[in-house]
């Protein structure tokens, strides 16, 4: 087995776990049953080898990797466009098998924080050089952030809704874990946060938009920040992992055939059960493949603007990823910030009108919109003309009427918004009903 070895900062933990015969990130040469890992260096980037073609890992070429030798990826890991893996020589990052880091996820091995935050982290037993350890079957969804030291999917145990030996942890859109521990079988809902010094115990999930800053808030649902994990959450997590391990399998195949096809403006990989065909983006009416373009535009995307116009209109680290749901039709862009994400589910297109303004870190996600008025299902996600999406706004399976504004860090989930509506900052709507505020 090649390329599997102990790495940088992880060598210390290797030594420790060797003694316990629980080995992570160590060589098969040690003579123990090991979980093979690799660091995304040199020949291992963007494809980390596996024992077979089907258990390789993939790191999108746009991923920012710092101190790659201090990062370990197990098998079947998918790291999406513009994710950031920021390790340090003294603080590594480990990603377990079948985990995925979706578009614009940030994992920072050692994040700066104030004295109070540092003390809280230390009290949790996390050393400042412990880095970030992400267990197997962890989902870091679009735009989520992990600030080290932190552990995700470590400790705790099985729970009644998920009695299987495996486990899952789900960090939803725009969520954050900062100097905290998330045990096995936990989760953070969209735009939720777990702050320094907190342990989220097995069986709990942070509610959308909630900011958990004390242990009491993490342990007591009566305080309104967390709820109990259910069988539905487990079913959701298992399905999401199945989807993303398919990406880990198919993107290396696309890379095998044509390395430039996983860069810049490129076709989608196809070959998955949910998206069989490969399609090329069309910009200003012209089918375009541009591996050197700084942003990722993948698959069946029709942009009204030309490539030359997009050079000036788009920020950086933008991922328009039609590798699952398609097509995306995107009208003229007034302006677009950085770290913007477009993604959709199988057979669920996205339609965006003209003169739309996109702030930084906006997420637009399609997928089977089900209007509660007027009927229909699997309706496209629609953003009409003249809409303004402020920084960190999330539009998910929704219809945003013309001239509307979605506030900063607000999320619209399966919701129809009438023309001219202004949604305040930090507000979440689900199924056309006010769900709550984003607390941070």
């Amino acid at each position: 087995m090649r390329n599997f070895q102990c790495r940088g900062a992880l060598r210390v933990s290797c030594a420790s776990v060797l003694a316990l015969t629980l080995v992570s990130g160590c060589s098969d040469d040690e003579g123990l049953a090991v979980e093979p890992t690799c660091s995304p260096t040199g020949a291992n980037f963007p494809v980390c080898p596996g024992e077979t073609e089907d258990d390789r890992s993939f790191v999108d070429p746009t991923v920012e990797v710092v101190n790659a030798e201090d990062i370990s990826l197990a098998r079947k890991v998918y790291v999406g466009p513009f994710a950031r893996l920021l390790a340090e020589a003294s603080a590594g990052i480990e990603i377990g098998e079948e985990s995925n880091l979706q578009d614009n996820v940030t994992v920072q091995a050692r994040a700066p924080r104030d004295a109070q935050g540092s003390a809280a982290v230390a009290a949790l037993g996390l050393g400042e050089n412990d880095g970030v350890e992400v267990a197997e079957r962890v989902i870091l969804a679009h735009g989520s952030t992990v600030k080290g030291p932190a552990k995700i999917g470590i400790g705790g145990g099985d729970i009644t809704p998920d009695p299987d030996a495996d486990q899952e942890v789900f960090l939803s859109f725009g969520s954050e874990v900062d100097g905290a521990i998330l045990q096995r079988n936990t989760g953070v809902s969209a735009l939720g946060r777990v702050g320094p010094g907190v342990t989220l115990h097995s069986g709990f999930i942070v509610l959308p938009g909630k900011n958990v800053t004390t242990q009491a808030e993490a342990d007591d649902p009566a305080l309104g920040k967390v709820r109990l994990l259910t069988e539905a959450d487990v079913a959701f997590n298992e399905a999401v992992i199945e989807v993303n391990t398919a990406f880990a399998r198919e993107y290396p195949r696309l890379h095998d055939q044509n390395p430039s096809a996983v860069r810049g403006i490129s076709p989608d990989p196809g070959g998955t059960g949910f998206n069989a065909e490969r399609n090329l983006p069309v910009l200003g009416g012209v089918a375009t493949e541009a591996p050197d373009f700084r942003n990722r535009i993948i698959g069946e995307v029709a942009l009204a603007n030309t490539l030359a116009e997009l050079e000036g209109l788009m920020g950086n680290r933008v991922a328009i990823r039609a590798d699952e749901g398609e097509p995306f039709t995107i009208g003229t862009i007034t302006s677009m910030g950085s770290d913007v994400i477009f993604h959709a589910l199988e057979e669920t297109p996205i339609q965006i009108g003209n003169d739309v303004t996109y702030g930084n870190r906006v997420i637009i996600h399609g997928g089977g919109r089900q209007p509660l008025e007027g009927g229909g299902s699997d309706e496209p996600t629609i953003i009409e003309d003249g809409v303004v999406l402020r920084d960190q706004a999330v539009v998910f399976r929704s219809l945003i009427g013309s001239g509307s504004t979605i506030g900063v860090k607000s999320a619209m989930v399966n919701t129809d918004v009438a023309p001219g509506t202004t949604i305040p900052d930090r507000t979440i709507y689900v199924n056309n009903a006010l769900f709550g505020a984003v607390e941070w």
Partner: protein, 157 residues
């Protein structure tokens, strides 16, 4: 501010189910069972005491008509993050899933229950088809988990 289209109440949310009109029917087996299973979904509430603390759960129960000659059924999980390529095998014509849970009481329990049902229904759904010895039936419509769904008039076998 928020207009009429986003000012719906929880009552509407709980009582309104919008049928999923799109069927992802497969050609395979279409002649054998062109009609999708006749789906109904109900909610069941349950309270228990665990480790001295009261705990409630709401279960979503999806049922469908037995298909003649079927050897079983397959469910596909459709999430806000993607459609699972794996199919869940099911022998019975019902599938039961815990969709909400908590320890609260009274009015707070009601609010928490409704919020969890809303969230799950926006993020998780299922479709089902019959499995025959050599082939599979057509997919049913997609039904969001956590929402009630009234069965239509039974389809002829």
């Amino acid at each position: 501010m928020v207009d009429h289209r986003v000012a719906l109440t929880e009552v509407l949310l709980a009582a309104t189910f919008v049928g999923c009109s799109k069927s992802h029917g497969h050609a395979a087996g279409a002649g054998r069972t062109a009609a999708a299973p006749n789906l109904s979904a109900t909610l069941e509430d349950q309270s228990v005491t665990a480790q001295g603390r009261p705990r409630w759960s709401t279960y979503w129960k999806l049922c469908w008509d037995y298909a003649p000659d079927a050897v079983g059924y397959e469910l596909q999980t459709i999430t806000s993050e993607g459609t699972s390529p794996e199919l869940r095998q099911q022998g019975d014509a019902c599938f039961r899933l815990q969709v909400a849970s908590g320890t609260s009481r009274g009015a707070r329990r009601t609010v928490e229950r409704e919020q969890q049902l809303a969230w799950q229904s926006a993020n998780l759904a299922y479709r089902v088809r019959a499995r025959f010895p050599e082939t599979a039936g057509a997919w049913s419509p997609v039904v969001p988990a956590g929402l009630k769904h009234e069965a239509a008039v039974s389809s002829p076998p």
